[in-house]
Amino acid sequence: MMEGLKNMLVMIELELRRLRHDRTEIYTRAVQPILWIVIYGPVMSSVRAIPTGGVPYTDFITPGVMIQTTTFVSIFYGLTIVWERESGILKKLLVTPASRYSMVIGRSMASGVRAIFQALIILPVAILIGVHFVPNPAYFILAFIAIFFASGGFAAISILVASFMKTRERFMGIGQAITMPLFFASNALYPLQMMPPILREFSTFNPLSYVVDAVRGLLITGDLSNIMIDLVAIAIFDAVLFTLASVSFRRIIE
């Protein structure tokens, strides 16, 4: 158990070392969310067609856009795993004493670390554009913990997918097919109440909605009435995906 935890930390350390050497990806991936906040937000808010409960529209979508970016980062983390499979790295890792689950959870959480940086980089832009955040450091920390764990779960989805899709091309395709529906069938850009009933049903099972709800409550509205449900949903999501990904991980090198 202790050893598993230690190996997870080692995987996170590896990711931090990678980031220290090369942060280009963080910057290039920041372009898209910044466009959402800087262009899409102000334009749509002038239409005033979306009921946001009194919050300016750009403020409303800022958590959604942050989570969208971190989810993309995590879902495409599987590409790293596919690359490591094509090279011999995964083979070598699986021949070490480290357990499968510590590798899977460790790598997933490593992606969570990357996601935190990805989300942080959007904050100054949002502040510049005039988004009002709840001025409570504890809320900030809790929001980023939620992002960290949710991203870990999404990375586990990507590891799970990577163990089935063994080439990069296939993985790219399936990655898009997962992320876009998750994003559009969530409360990232509009409240769930605006969706057709069937989609609303679907979004009950959409982990993205829970993360967005938690982060929106913590960072923007200060409304924490759903926070427990959101956090429990994220915990269940992680537990299920970590288990599934660990079970299928061995397939990846066979």
Binding site: N7, E13, L14, I89, T96, P97, I253
Partner: protein
């Protein structure tokens, strides 16, 4: 005493049709360098991957230091280190960081880490580039870093899948000298696949040749070569004054296995070096004077040819693998 590796009637069938291993029996002694030679698709890599607990055999048993690789996998993994054929280091961090991550995974105590890492870097001639990103390394340096990773934990046995593929001869020599020192110093068993005949010949204590999923022969390099029948000593004689019954007389010597006269005089013996002086004396006593002598010994290539039926194709294979490694590096 358990063998370092023991394999009984091992079978591996992929997808119910491809029979990669077809009843392999093998044992490897402690502290020995053991080479597995074979053509492409003979099952070398499959065997290594089963022994390193990556694949489950379809039938049969495999043990590493007496531990079953299937039922005792996690214990096996504590004793071994492994260098896959493909590139197996992170290219976006430094060489030193790669070693640090592995040192932590293997639980090398914090106080020893730095010393151990510096030691293997020094060993593999990478100390001067330890803080450079691996993506700036040459192919040979990457291979040496991979071997350094495997040395890090002083395993009881190292499994090396084509350890020096793509390295130039000088670099291969250096790598093997280090591996030999390492082997002697720590009593490490080295189990490796190779495409370089000379590598198996020079550095392996024992060699097994595998073909179509079966071990076709095994032994020390010298034994394998001797098993081909012997060595040929060819004499160029001065044409004058040859006794007509010279050939028959040589044939009668007890260490001579055969004599051919085709302009030169070729004598087939078991061991050329030890019999040459006697033969020279004999020829002198028969009044023949020797102008030139040459010894032809069977090579491992000849052994391979006999048991596998084809020569080992080094060149195409090596460029394939190095090409693939380059592709992986570039992403």
């Amino acid at each position: 005493m358990d063998f370092a590796v023991q394999v009984n009637d091992l079978v591996k069938v992929y997808d119910g049709k491809v029979r990669a291993l077809d009843g392999v029996d093998l044992n490897v002694d402690h502290g020995e360098a053991f080479a597995l030679l074979g053509p492409n698709g003979a099952g070398k890599t499959t065997l290594i991957r089963i022994l390193t607990t990556q694949l489950r055999p379809t039938a049969g048993e495999a043990y590493v230091f007496g531990l079953n690789v299937v039922s005792n996998g996690s214990k096996v993994r504590r004793l071994i280190s492994y260098v896959p054929q493909e590139m197996s280091v992170w290219t976006d961090v430094s060489g030193c960081e790669n070693l640090l991550i592995y040192a932590k995974i293997f639980g090398v105590p914090q106080l020893e880490r730095e010393k151990v890492i510096d030691e293997v870097l020094e060993n593999m001639g990478l100390a001067h580039v330890k803080n450079d990103l691996v993506k700036t390394y040459s192919g040979g340096m990457i291979r040496r870093l991979e071997i350094a990773c495997a040395m890090l934990i002083k395993p009881k046995i190292m499994f090396l899948d084509e350890p020096t593929i793509g390295l130039d001869p000088a670099a291969r020599k250096v790598v093997w000298e280090r591996l030999n020192v390492f082997k002697k110093e720590y009593g490490v068993t080295i189990f490796f696949n190779t495409h370089y005949m000379d590598e198996a010949d020079l550095y392996a204590d024992e060699i097994a040749i595998i073909n179509q999923g079966k071990i076709v022969t095994r032994g020390k390099s010298e034994e394998l070569k001797h098993s081909l029948g012997g060595e040929i000593i060819a004499f160029t004689l001065e044409k004058t004054a040859l006794k007509p019954d010279l050939v028959q007389n040589i044939q009668k010597l007890n260490f001579v296995k055969g004599v051919f006269e085709d302009g030169n005089l070729s004598v087939l013996v078991g061991d050329a070096e030890s019999t040459l002086p006697d033969l020279m004396n004999f020829l002198k006593s028969e009044g023949a004077s020797v102008e030139k002598v040459s010894i032809t010994k069977p090579t491992l290539d000849d052994v391979f040819l006999k048991y596998v039926g084809t020569r080992l194709e080094e060149k195409g294979r090596i460029s394939d693998v190095t090409h693939m490694r380059d592709m992986i590096r570039k992403g």
